[in-house]
């Protein structure tokens, strides 16, 4: 599977942005197995780009296509299928169900399209140090814990592309490294492509391509 972006630019950005960016206004192809790093300062459109790629917003010009099918042409059922089986995400704003327990938050994703046995969920939470929080309401967890829940949730489904939007912003270095290792493992297991958008370079990430937004 391939992800292609052509001449992409948010409608609220000026055309001049194209000349300063490796992504805006360019024709790019991302393939499975690639580890892409997108580096950009705040306000340069990282979250916009991730949302465009996930099909959540359409306020852009240019094209995004998955396997030669334009994302704009996907109907809601096709989009749901894409998200359930080929495209996963860690949102910058996490987007958990605050009134559900950590376990329920994870199971909601797990039941959608199970990739692992349920026992693996427990292992992942142990690796990232949140297994003791499984029965706690996610809304009561710290930001760092919530971020780890969101990361594990993204890894519970099959995917060809994993979109990461500043996924370690609330984690200390040790926890960020642990989370990164888990993400790399899981992506390798699926031979998936990671598109990792962040403010700066993150050394433990074995990027195959670095792009400045």
């Amino acid at each position: 599977m391939q992800l292609r972006i052509q001449n992409l630019l948010p409608t609220y950005f000026e055309e001049s942005k194209k000349s300063q960016s490796d992504i805006w206004g360019k024709d790019l192809v991302f393939s499975k197995g690639e580890f892409i790093k997108i580096v950009a300062p705040s306000g340069s459109g990282k979250t916009s780009l991730i949302h465009f790629l996930y099909g959540m917003r359409k306020t852009y010009q240019g094209n995004i296509s998955y396997e030669n099918q334009l994302l704009q042409s996907f109907n809601q059922e096709q989009l749901a299928k894409l998200r359930a089986t080929q495209l996963s995400i860690v949102f910058q704003d996490l987007r958990l169900f605050p009134d559900q327990t950590v376990e329920e938050n994870l199971l909601i994703k797990h039941h959608l399209q199970p990739f692992h046995h349920e026992i693996k969920i427990k292992e992942m939470t142990e690796r990232l140090g949140i297994s003791s929080k499984l029965q706690a309401r996610s809304g009561q967890c710290s930001y760092g814990e919530q971020q780890r829940i969101a990361i594990i949730r993204a890894l519970l489904q099959p995917f060809d592309f994993l979109l990461l939007d500043e996924p370690f912003s609330h984690l200390d270095n040790d926890n960020a490294v642990k989370a990164m290792e888990l993400i790399i493992e899981e992506s390798a297991l699926r031979n998936a492509c990671i598109l990792f958008a962040d403010l700066e370079r993150f050394n433990p990430y074995p990027q195959t391509r670095l792009l400045h937004l």
Binding site: M56, R57, Q76, E77, L79, A80, K81, L82, R83, A84, T85, R95, F97, Q100, E104, L107, I108, K109, H111, L112, Q113, Q157
Partner: protein, 402 residues
Amino acid sequence: MSASFKIVKQLILSGGNRSSRLFSFAGLGIGVLLLFCCVQMYFNLKQLTRKNAIRKNGFDYIALRKSVTNETMGKTALNMFAPGEIADLQKQPFVKAVAPLIANNFRLQLSAGSLFDFQTDFFIEAIDNDFIDTLPDSFHWHEGDATVPMIISSDFIELYNTAFAPGYGLPQLSDATISTVVFTIICYDRNQMPVEFKGNIVAQSDRLNSFLVPKTFLDWANEKFGGALATNVSRLYIKTKDANNPEFLKFIDSKHYRINKDKTLFGRAKQIMQGVITGLGIFGLMVVVLALMLFSFYLQLMIAKSKDNLQLLLTLGYSPGWLSKKMSGQFIPAYILIVLIALALTQLFQFLFHKYVMYDRPELSSMLHISVFILAVLLTVLTIIANYRMVKKLLYRFGTNE
């Protein structure tokens, strides 16, 4: 999609208020019960009124005449049925056949001389044999026959026996005797020359209030003594499937025709009853619609309260179609239960109605009419489809506004 709804259910079905759900279910139940009862009552009424009039071969025979008013009094032609009017009657869907009662157009006298000295100016009439309820094989006449068979109204015999004979000291007549009485029918031609025929009563009729002779005789006599076939028709008989048919009564009223009110009394009552039942049915339908609207508002409120959760589920990759099916499917057992309870109660009412109110009416069934069951299935299916469509529409709207 094979996802389990159990874990998702608590995210989206916790938004509704339990009491508002119960209220809308109760309203739906009452409306459905009322609707079922009305439909069943409609069929009860239909069954009860089906066998209410004197019938031959499953038909009612009704005499029809024009109202004689002060304006038409003395104007015989106005009180007769024109050929166009008869043709119009024949065209009506509820009229199976029409037959005119033809009267003599010459002077005629009747004498019962063999039994007692009695002679009077009289009349005779004739009608198609198909309209006669008691038609013996001997009721026919051919030119040259000296005896004319007659069928008279049983009411005449009754009046003679109970009122006329005792008052004048005349012998009362049994059914056996009456058939042995030989009458003399005296027909006068246009020159007042009499021609006599023998007449004997071969049958009595409960339906036809007249003094009937075979049509072949009257047609022949009218032409011979009156000079022409009789064309004036002041009385018609109508053959109809149901004299109490409201459409039939409406037509008769619109034309200002007169009929025997006794025969259609039940029809008038039926008209009113049908009106009341239809009114109740419409009311029941309105209650059902209102309850469904109430329930739809409840669903919309529940969805609005769970909007954030639903949107996040869609963002995570849950299919809006699957969610709609599962969400609206949650209420299917409740709909089916409501309809089943309403059906059971309607069946109970019908059983009690037949057993205690209409216990001597074998034509009525203690079981519900098949249409009530069909309506129950239709109502359930329509409710499920309507709610599924509404939920789906709302979820698709959420999906586009992530």
